[in-house]
Every structure is written in structure tokens, then in C-alpha cells.
């Protein structure tokens, strides 16, 4: 067996440039699969990983999802919130007002969304996971104080906003008492572009009593779905409508994201598969050329006593060695590419994630390389093994 490897290795080395190109062809195909899969897993993990920390949350909104769009049907009432407090298994409830307001800073105006709510509850939902970078969080009696998100402080106005700066919200003066840290992926859209007020202050500033958003935290994640149903029923009863409230557990969101990522991964693998098909045609081409070139050599081997099966196995061994090396190189390239892609894409999209290289993806990549090598080597190898020794020896 060792000698068969040696023989195969010799003829691979004999055609060094072509062999290297063939190896590269396979390597690129495998690298595409490995890197795209790893980046996909990395993204999924970055998103679901954060969501998992929020798996005990249920977000409740006054509206419904039709098709893919959310349609707001109205707002919740204080009675809705009180009713929710009677449902068992709920740890925290925070009711929020939510609306756009005109905000002025140093004579510059900008429309910004305001979130108002119970300071203790909002603190649990946002301050604990995100953190305050400058100043402090709101207190119950901060009627004229506000805390702002990172983008409000840095991006929305020409001049950067600091603690103790003054903002005018819908004509009322507020003092910035704290600024949030830049939030990570999952909280970015909730925290970064918003201004947070106490419930009382927000009702004044927004001139409304409407509750637009309720966040619920449960004790037991396993009960989340059930509790979400109870919440919907309770609120629908109050409003006399069948589907007034929309309550989504983060757990079900994780599942949905998983489904989406499966589709994305499928697409990525499909693209990579095309690369592999091209690579396997490359191997077949290389091996066919090799068979043609070595017709004479095959004839000589047969003349001195090689069986057809000897010739077949020699050529198959050659193509599988080429593809094995291609597979290894492809896995290494794929891992490197995955790291680079996740770094570049992460920076570009402002998401922090790193590629997740799963051993089964690497093993799968190697297996695919071997299968491709053997399959595309088989036809040329069989062709070689079936040559008639007389004709092959005569061939020059």
C-alpha cells in the first residue's frame, strides 16, 4: 500500500503545476463552504446568544403582524397593566410610552423617539444589560432629567451631548443626567437612538397617557409561551377585540431566527456547491489529461503484469490524494477566510461577532473533498484501466 502511495505521489509531483492548480480548485470550493458556514454560525450565535440572555422576556405590543409588517391598532391602558400584574409567574412588568418628539440642542432641532416608563423597571430591562457610560440612571423624582442613548449623544446633533447639557423636548427643558454605553447588537435599536424619561415626565412631554409597549419578564422560561397567551387574552378581553395584543416571547424569536439562518446557510452552501462542481470538473479534466498522457505508461504497466484493478486503484488513489490535500488546504483557508470575513463584516455592520468553526463542518468539508475526488477520478481511472495493453504500448 505504501508503494502505491509512492507511485501516485510520484506522478502527482511529475505534473506539479497542474496538480497544484487542481488542489487549489478543490481548496477554494471547500474553503467557500467552510468559511460561509462558519460565518453563518457565528452570526447566528452572536444574535441568538444575546437573545438567550433575554429568553425570559415577553414583549407585548398593541397591534398585529400581518404578513411581514407590524400594524399598530391603538394603545394599552393602565387597566391592561393592572390586569397583567394579576397573571401568575410574572417577575417584572414595565409599561412604556413611546412617541416621537421634537428635540432641540444648542439651537439645532431633530425628531427623536422618547421612551418613558417606571424607572425601576426600565432600569432592569435596559440599564442592567447595557450600562451607563456617563452620569447616572433616572430616579423616580427626576421630573426634568433625561438619559440618552449613544447615538443621540454622538450622532444626532452636530455637537456631542454631555451630562448636564440642556435639551428642549417638545418645548420643555430637560437636563441630561446620564448617557448609555453603546449597546450591543440586540439592544442597539432599543437604546441607542432614544431618549429615556420617567413615566410622569414622558406623559407631560408627549402629552399622552397611552402605553405603547409592555415588557414582561417571567420567572420560568418554560412557562413563557403560556403566559404570553394569557397576556393576549387578558388584553384582548379588555379591548373587546380578538387580536388586539401581540405578545411575542424571545424564545420564539430565537426559533424564528434559527429558521432564517438555516435558509441563509442553505443558500450559502448552494453557492459553495457550485464552486465545488467546478472544482470537480477540474479534477476530472486533470485526471483525464493525465490518463491520456500516460496511455503509454499504462500500457507498459499492463504489459509487465499490472491487472486492470491495479491501474484503477492507482489512478483513484492519485485523484483522492489530490482532493485530500485540497480538502485540508481548503479547511485551513476556510477558517482563515471565516475569521477575516467576520472581522471585516462585523466592523462594517457595527456588529461584534466571530466566526464559529464547528468540527462537523471541517469533517464535512474533508468528506465532500474526498467524495468529489473519488467520483471525478473514477471515470478517468476506469478509462485507464480498460485500455488494451497492445494499443496503449503502441501509443506515443
Amino acid at each position: 500500500m505504501r508503494d502505491k502511495f509512492l507511485l501516485a505521489y510520484r506522478s502527482i509531483r511529475e505534473r506539479r503545476t497542474r496538480s497544484i492548480l487542481t488542489v487549489l480548485g478543490i481548496a477554494v470550493g471547500i474553503a467557500a463552504i467552510v468559511s460561509l458556514m462558519s460565518v453563518g454560525y457565528g452570526m447566528e450565535e452572536a444574535i441568538t446568544g444575546e437573545l438567550t440572555g433575554m429568553a425570559d422576556m415577553i414583549s407585548v405590543m398593541p397591534g398585529k403582524i400581518t404578513g411581514h409588517a407590524y400594524v399598530e391598532l391603538g394603545s394599552f391602558t393602565d387597566r391592561d397593566v393592572k390586569d397583567l400584574q394579576r397573571i401568575g409567574g410574572i417577575k417584572d412588568i414595565t409599561a412604556m410610552t413611546y412617541d416621537a418628539a421634537e428635540v432641540e440642542y444648542r439651537n439645532e432641532r431633530s425628531p427623536i423617539f422618547i421612551i418613558g416608563g417606571d424607572t425601576k423597571e426600565l432600569g432592569i430591562f435596559y440599564v442592567e444589560p447595557v450600562g451607563i457610560k456617563e452620569g447616572r440612571w433616572l430616579r423616580e423624582n427626576d421630573f426634568k432629567g433625561c438619559v440618552i442613548g449613544d447615538r443621540v449623544a454622538n450622532d444626532f446633533f452636530d455637537e456631542v451631548i454631555h451630562v448636564n447639557d440642556k435639551l428642549i423636548i417638545n418645548g420643555e427643558k430637560f437636563i441630561v443626567v446620564g448617557i448609555f454605553e453603546k449597546a450591543s447588537t440586540m439592544y442597539a435599536s432599543d437604546v441607542d437612538p432614544h431618549i429615556f424619561l420617567t413615566l410622569h415626565a414622558s406623559k407631560e412631554a408627549l402629552q399622552t397617557n397611552e402605553i405603547k409597549y409592555i415588557m414582561v419578564r417571567v420567572y420560568d422560561i418554560d412557562e413563557a409561551e403560556e403566559i404570553a397567551e394569557e397576556i393576549k387574552e387578558a388584553i384582548n378581553d379588555n379591548h373587546g377585540l380578538d387580536d388586539f395584543a401581540f405578545a411575542m416571547t424571545i424564545g420564539s424569536a430565537i426559533e424564528q431566527i434559527g429558521t432564517v439562518f438555516n435558509i441563509i446557510r442553505g443558500l450559502l452552501v448552494g453557492i459553495a456547491a457550485i464552486a465545488l462542481v467546478v472544482a470537480s470538473i477540474g479534477i476530472m479534466n486533470t485526471m483525464l489529461m493525465s490518463v491520456m498522457e500516460r496511455t503509454h505508461e499504462i500500457g507498459v504497466m499492463k504489459a509487465i503484469g499490472a491487472k486492470s484493478s491495479d491501474v484503477l486503484s492507482l489512478f483513484l488513489l492519485e485523484s483522492s490524494m489530490v482532493s485530500l490535500v485540497g480538502g485540508v488546504v481548503g479547511c485551513v483557508l476556510g477558517v482563515v477566510a471565516a475569521k477575516v470575513i467576520s472581522l471585516v463584516a462585523g466592523t462594517a455592520m457595527g456588529i461584534e461577532f466571530s466566526a464559529v468553526v464547528k468540527p462537523e463542518v471541517l469533517l464535512g468539508g474533508m468528506a465532500v473533498a474526498m467524495v468529489v475526488g473519488v467520483l471525478s477520478g473514477f471515470y478517468p481511472a476506469r478509462k485507464a484501466s480498460r485500455m488494451s495493453p497492445v494499443e496503449a504500448v503502441r501509443y506515443e
Binding site: R2, D3, L7, R10, S11, R13, E14, H296, E297, V300, M301, K302, A303, I304, G305, A306, K307, S308, S309, D310, S388, P389, V390, V393
Partner: protein, 208 residues
Amino acid sequence: MGDAEVYALHDVNLDIQEGEFIAIIGPSGSGKSTLLNMIGCLDTPTSGAVFIDGIDTGKLSENKLAEIRREKIGFIFQQFNLVHTLNALENVALPMFFAGVKRETRLKRAEELLANVGLGDRIYHKPSEMSGGEQQRVAIARALSNDPEIVIGDEPTGNVDTETGNAIMDILEGLNHEGRTIIVVTHDAEIAARAGRTKRMRDGRVLD
């Protein structure tokens, strides 16, 4: 073009005894190479039969024919036909490799065979680094590697100068003295004269 059949060989009846040294001589196209391929089990006749040790080779399977080529017959070609990616030692060991001989045994025997043809100091050279005469001696050593009873030479001196040709014939003579059957095809009357028996061929037929 009609449907007329063309015979490379026709009405050939040839008996070769064990231990004989026979030369087949004839112009090119006379069918001598075809005859040699039949004897050497590289080809089988469309009609008629070739017997080796009383076995009709036309009735054997591909694998069985390969086995006869490997065990009973040593082939020497005009073009040497060494595997150019392998060195002299590996070329000589190749038939033993296909016969499943153990690596150490194989390399030891290949080394001895090369020493016997006077190439003991060139065993690691590639064919491209050797002269025609040296390559043909490697080819002879290769033909002998599985200790065959029959050695077949298809114009074995056709690609070397006269002196080297004579040296090669010396080796073949020596092999004949060891008791091996030697069958050589040539168009060189001088070479043919060194054989114990000569047969002439023309247009696919064996004359006299």
C-alpha cells in the same frame, strides 16, 4: 473501402520448445510484432489459439492474462518503455510490486538484477539520466524480476548502436543458457544469426 477482412496474421503455425532461442525475422508490416504480442499475452487472436504450457490463452480472463504476463513472461521493448517517474531500482521492482512481493525482498532482488546487467552503481538514476544501452539493460533486469520462463524481445537492439546491441544479445544468450526460452523479433540478420533457430515472416505468414 470494402468489407474485405485484413489479417495481420494468417495460417501461422509455430511451435517453440522450452529452452529454445528463436529469432523471428521479417520486414516491417510482416506481422512479427503482432505474433509477438499474441505470444506475450498482450493480445489474443480473433481465431485460432495460442498455447503457453498447454494453456489456451484465448480462453483466459483479463486478470489471468495479466498474471501470465507477470509471472511467466518478461517483455523487452525496442523503446525500452521504462516508467520515467521511477528510478532504475523502482522500475525493476515494479513487476514484483504488481505480483505482491514484499518491499524489502523486492528492492533486494531488483538491486541484484541490476548488478547482474552491470548497472550496480546506477540504481538510483532516472531513465532520463541514462543512455539507451543502459535503459535497455534496466528493461532486461525488469523483464527478469519475476523470474519468467520466457523472455520476449521486440527489436531489443533496434534503438542502440551495434556494440551495445551485441552486449544485449550476450545477456540474452546468457539467459538462454540458464534455461529460459528466448523469443526475439528483429529485422537485423546479424542479430538473428545468434539465435538457435530463425523463422522468416512476410505478409502475416511464417515462411520456411
